[in-house]
Amino acid sequence: MSAGREILAPLRRYPSALAGLALILALVVIALYTLVAIPYPKALELWRGGEAWQMSPVNARPVWTAWLAGEDLPGTRVVRSSDAPSEQQDFDGVRRLRIPLEFDYRHTAFPSELNLFLSAPQGARDAFVRLTWETPDGRYIPLGGHQVSGEERISLSQDWSLEQRLGRVPHVGLLAEPGDPSAPAVVQPGRYRLLLDAILFDVDANPGATLAADLVVYGRVAGLAGTDHRRRDLMVALLWGTPVALAFGLLAAVGTTLTTLVIAAAGVWFGGWLDALIQRLTEVNMILPLLPILVMVGTLYSTSIWVMLGVVIALGIFSAGIKMYRAMLLPIREAPYIEAARAYGASDARIILRYMIPRILPVLIPTFVTLIPSFVFLEASLALLGLGDPLLPTWGKILNDAQAQSALYNGYYYWVLEPAALLMLTGLGFAMLGFALDRVFNPRLRNL
């Protein structure tokens, strides 16, 4: 308690330490919030992609980029049949439905896509829907008829014949002022309507049968983080990347530091052949390249983040740190208080763990703190090389996706900048705290 206060009190004199501490605290809060808000199985399911994201736009920018650029970019809008004034007529076991899906569109930019999601009861005969698009200036554009069985998605944007008729891609052509297709398209502001004329069969057997329709007008901005090429909200990966990065960095730093420390202390204490063996192992290990070995393990065995963590720790045990700790521990081995401990019968393990290691622990804290982000970066580097965890969303995997989709070439700069900014803030936070701790624990560095 008092020892903790002794460390924290001088930190107050370093504004950088407080800023670093605040950054780390913010990351921890985000991590904790994420673990509660998006439980692990849900995060995995969301990141697997698919149906959960079918109503999200592809590669939409974050909302705030539109504010910053002063552009009027549309968000995604869903027009649901349950809110629409439907009309219904029954005769001879056949039900006729008339559903007008209406929405106002007054943005200067066009939507990124148009999709219609239909859900009809499944029976002996499929339901039939005829679609008509009505523009604010009163034009009627027939969009053809569709047989609907169960869940059905009608991709208006990918309707090739419609595109031929309009002379533009449908999500532009349907909302543009009529005119020369070769001229730049201009949005016709006003109220649009998609009219669904549906016929359901065999309603006698199923009196509640109806047709559910959702018209999705995909926007060009989505959420605070934007979306990727698979419509996934990047926020999921940005949020989940925080606990993964912190856990990986912290576990790797703790794992390597503690094992290295105990082994170095055991070598110093027992001396002789054990010390010699540890030194030789360290020297061999120091010339082994970490990254290629990790790439090899990832390629041949498994890219699970926990396997990688294990390999990082295993290779970190006999790292150069052993040499440093040995140099620090050698004089402590001869300290009179250790001799006193032997004289009252303390065991070897007790002397190593309770008398030698605590003596150098304070000096190691700054090194330890600055070690954490280096492991976070290592994880991101592995993910960028395509050796990221196959299931978990992480910052490195966002970067990997962004690179694979040529994000910068396509102008999706947010895709790269967001995870990069989080990585940099993590590094910055731990570095600022670590350097300040170094000044606290190594008084020789003060006032320099």
Binding site: A335, P336, Y337, E339, R342, Y344, G345, A346, R350, P358
Partner: protein
């Protein structure tokens, strides 16, 4: 029982092997070389000698920190040399150790309560209240106010207080023998007598045996009953303290006594009989009497050839010197 000596040391040798390239034996440092003596229960003795004479090696061998190369250390009827495991641990509880440098002797990252609890934890006192009771009792015994020092770290205490804590730690396992290796040489002159008196008083109260290691002949008269003079790994003279200081027989003891600082200003210019040369090499000690190269009275052909046995020219006074044959 009380007549049997607490500690009997017979022909004790502590040699440190010198190795080249990690495995070639090229000789030994004979730090302790054929030392014999007995300590009775409840007596205070002092070992004196200059630096490098083997006093500290002797202390460490008695504490079980060095394995003796030969000879016997019999403590309460049990040979200590071969002890290991639980038996060695039990022996260590019976022998307390007070070190020279009180600040170095205390782990700097433990407060007083914690560092005094350590020996108790090591020896299986798991009851927290029992530990606290014993810690407070022993702190009061060394005249420290428990409330004042329990929560303090060693650097927050004065040198005298630190040494009291070291003494308290040596006492907390209720030992029968305390070995104090130059307990006051690193302290301010003002607190030396205080600490020595405290040790002596505790020794009398607890009726334990106290072995001082010191090079300070000036204070030894007041704090020890018997005196052993060591030179080059051997005991050269032993006697009750007054007898030895008033009638030194060995030329080395005489030289040591002559070297004591004399506050009388009239004597400032007086030439003293100081033996020339340095203490001999412990790797290749001189043949015969180890003091003969420096001895002003050495008998050529005798002292440099034959090792003098422990002679007793006066009752209770032993000296290893051919001059007193």
């Amino acid at each position: 029982m009380s007549d049997a000596p607490l500690l009997e040391v017979r022909d004790l040798r502590t040699w440190f092997e010198l190795r080249q390239w990690g495995f070639l034996r090229v000789g030994s440092v004979r730090a302790v070389d054929g030392v014999s003596f007995e300590l009775a229960r409840g007596e205070a003795v002092a070992f004196v000698g200059e630096s490098g004479c083997g006093k500290s090696s002797l202390a460490r061998t008695l504490l079980g920190l060095h394995r003796p190369s030969g000879g016997e250390v019999v403590f309460e009827g049990q040979d200590v040399a071969g002890l290991a495991g639980a038996a060695l641990k039990r022996y260590r509880a019976r022998v307390g150790y007070v070190q020279q440098d009180p600040y170095g002797a205390l782990p700097p990252f433990m407060n007083v309560r914690r560092l005094l609890a350590e020996p108790l934890i090591v020896h299986g006192v798991m009851d927290r209240a029992e530990r606290e009771r014993r810690i407070r009792a022993v702190l009061e015994e060394v005249r420290l106010a428990p409330e004042e020092v329990l929560h303090k770290f060693p650097h927050m205490l004065s040198g005298g207080q630190q040494q009291r804590v070291v003494i308290a730690r040596a006492l907390i396992l209720a030992p029968h023998l305390i070995i104090a290796d130059e307990p006051v040489s690193m302290l301010d002159a003002s607190v030396r007598v205080e600490i020595l008196s405290l040790l002596r008083q505790i020794q009398r109260e607890r009726e334990l045996t106290l072995a001082f290691i010191t090079h300070d002949l000036a204070t030894v008269r007041h704090f020890a009953e018997r005196l052993f003079v060591m030179y080059a790994g051997r005991i050269v003279e032993q006697a009750p303290v007054d007898e030895l200081l008033d009638h030194p027989l060995h030329p080395y003891t005489q030289a040591l006594l002559a070297a004591i600082a004399d506050p009388d200003a009239d004597n400032a210019s007086r030439q003293r009989e100081i033996p020339p040369g340095e203490p001999p090499s412990l790797v290749k000690p001189p043949a015969g009497c180890r003091f003969h190269p420096r001895c002003p009275h050495a008998i050529a052909g005798h002292c440099d050839r034959d090792e003098p046995p422990m002679l007793a020219p006066r009752p209770g006074h032993g000296v290893a010197c051919w001059l007193h044959e």
